[in-house]
Amino acid sequence: MNPSRQVGIAIMGVCLMLLLWACISPVGANPFIVHLPFGDWAQSLVDWLTTNARAVFQVIKSPIKFVLDVFMGGLRAAPPTIVIVTVFLIAWQASGLRLACFCAAALGFLGFIGVWEDTMLTLALTLSSLLFCLVAGIPLGIATAKSLRVAAVVRPILDIMQTCPAFVYLIPIVMLVGIGNVPGVAVTVIFALPPLIRLTELGIRQVQPDVIEAAKSFGATPSNILFDVELPLAWRTIMAGINQTLMMALSMVVVASMIAVEGLGLLVLRGIGRLDMGLAAVGGVGIVLLAMVLDRLTQAISSRPALVASSSASSTKPVELIRSLFTFSWRTRSDGKLQ
């Protein structure tokens, strides 16, 4: 019997004895004769971490800060027109003109109601969080799908992450990392990571075993199988995970604003604090529109019909338009040489 199981049985035994006492104690008397100072334990754990492990958390800060600075610098420095046109083109390529117009209109509207800066800040925070979620979540999801042992460790942690109210881990994060945008990204990652891990795991597990077996029978290595078979076939499910993670990250901005994260969430928080309906509405509409843009975009990317004969490339998307333009000019230049 392994030690962890022994400890578990000992704890359960103590609990059962206490419960037994509670059952046989006289009716009306308080059966809970012992008070366990769980709160104090938690407090002293965080205190201990703060004094001893703060340096570690400060080191973790720097890559977050770096990524955040890149996104923020880029999105805030870029002229709004360029941002809107870029989003328009991406949406056009991913889906069609309808979605492109919607995205451009939504972003334009946010500019006209005066929250462009805040929107870009929130977008930068969300995208940074997404990046960290991808870097951590997809490998973890793959490992969870492949190894029962990893799954046994990861699943209970995910359960805690998904059920524990964000406010609870807000306090230790503030004590360990501080306040501001960087710890904001950290809490957002904790909050938004679970669906990506779960859906990556699900996607990998759902890949038809016969296709994997066939690849194996032709001499494929485990990494061949991962990159040629499993990840492509799990792609849609993983994209659904990315979509969920993005939505959760965006929904976290109001909570995160409590630890001095700027952006649209702060507008809402200020609105609540001052009972300023107008300010809260502006922030709220910003979050909703940004969420809709990101949601529709990721959905369009994940559901792109990839499985049709490649010859039917339509020329109504920007990339194909540019390509056809290029081919046209190339053909006219080298006419006669073509077969």
């Binding site: 016969d210 077996e213 194996k216 032709f218 001499g219 494929a220 492509p232 792609w235």
Partner: protein, 366 residues
């Protein structure tokens, strides 16, 4: 004369020697595959006591998928493994390229024990020596037909252009040229199975494993693919292990057939051997409805004449290999037929009476 006789005996002996079996392209010896055994000791006990499936399930709760199976495949032959679902044939075939590890036993390919191979040697074996075709084809749905056919070459490090060229040739071989840029779901079931065959042929492996490749197809397409496959494998002299649950298919394709029941190989032999002398009632039961006429020939039923060619009558000449069906047609018109061996020398005589007796036996056996 005696010298010549001795030579012949020696040669035929040599052919039957175990050494010939060891050098055969595929040999499996005493394969056991036990699932759900709680400890290796349980599995060892099951093997030592040679337990049946029921005993193993009752005593240890273990599932015996393959039970003490041995066979050897000769170069260039089509070796069919026939059995009902659950008889362990699909498990057995996966031991040949070690997609499944045996609980005990030995598998050798071209004389080398593949259980000693490490992961990369095994991958090389799968990529270059043993091609496989699956019942449900199992093509990558997100990739073109051409990519699928060339995938075995891709994992060997072939460049795109080179592997597309080879894949195109193999598609032509299975009469699917021009379909390379389609996706698997755009093809019919029969066409997909052709792609599966082309994929297995892509790196030109000397050995092919086919796991019920035609079972899910409709009868017409199945027959057509059987004929095409037989032609291809003969032409390219592949050594083939072919799994099927369909006795007709096994009879049509197989040079030799192994019949499996409850994880055990209960009989191995040519279609004729199996039809003429089924090992037990189970095999005999299978053979009901199979016409035996094609497996009985003139050489087997004739009365030997020892060089005394009967005179007076104008005899019809047949060769020893003439099947019973043909003889019946012939002897409706004629009293008797003279049987010749392959050198054109008369060796025996078949009269109407002999033929009728033979036909009676064949019909009563059924």
């Amino acid at each position: 004369m005696t010298v010549l006789d001795g030579d012949l005996t020696d040669r035929s002996k040599r052919l039957r020697q175990p050494s010939a079996v060891e050098a055969s392209p595929i040999a499996a010896k005493d394969i056991w595959k036990i699932y759900n055994a709680k400890t290796p000791a349980d599995a060892a006990t099951i093997i030592r006591k040679n337990m049946s499936r029921e005993e193993a399930a009752g005593t240890f709760g273990a599932v015996v998928a393959v039970r003490n199976a041995s066979f050897a495949v000769q170069p260039g032959e089509i070796f069919c493994i026939m059995g009902l679902s659950g008889s362990g044939k699909s498990t057995l075939i996966r031991h040949i390229n070690r997609l499944i590890e045996p609980t005990s036993g030995m598998v050798s390919i071209n004389g080398a024990n593949i259980l000693n191979k490490n992961a990369s040697e095994l991958r090389q074996l799968r990529a270059q020596t043993v091609g496989m075709v699956f019942q449900n084809v199992a093509l990558m749905p997100h990739r073109s037909v051409l990519y699928n056919v060339g995938y075995g070459l891709k994992v060997q490090g072939y460049e795109r252009g080179k592997r597309d060229k080879i894949a195109g040739e193999k598609l032509e071989l299975v009469q699917l040229s021009g379909w390379g840029h389609r996706f698997p779901h755009e093809l019919s079931g029969g066409m997909q199975q052709r792609v599966g065959l082309a994929r297995a042929l892509a790196s030109d492996p000397p050995i092919l494993l086919l796991d019920e490749p035609f079972s899910a197809l409709d009868p017409l397409i199945r027959r057509q693919l059987q004929d095409e496959f037989k032609a291809i494998s003969r032409e390219m002299t592949k050594t083939v292990v072919f799994i099927t649950h369909d006795l007709d298919e096994a009879m049509r394709l197989g040079d030799r057939i192994a019949i499996m029941k409850d994880g055990r190989v209960i009989q191995v032999g040519s279609p004729r051997e199996i039809v003429m002398s089924p090992a037990d009632n189970y095999v005999a039961e299978f053979l009901r409805g199979i016409s035996r006429g094609q497996f009985v020939n003139a050489g087997m039923i004739m009365k030997e004449i020892n060089g005394k060619v009967p005179t007076g009558k104008k005899n019809n000449h047949v060769v020893e290999e003439t099947p019973l069906d043909k003889l019946l047609e012939l002897l409706v018109e004629n009293e008797s037929a003279l049987v010749m061996n392959s050198k054109g020398k008369p060796t025996g005589l078949i009269t109407r009476e002999i033929l009728l007796r033979a036909a009676k036996t064949v019909i009563q056996q059924r």
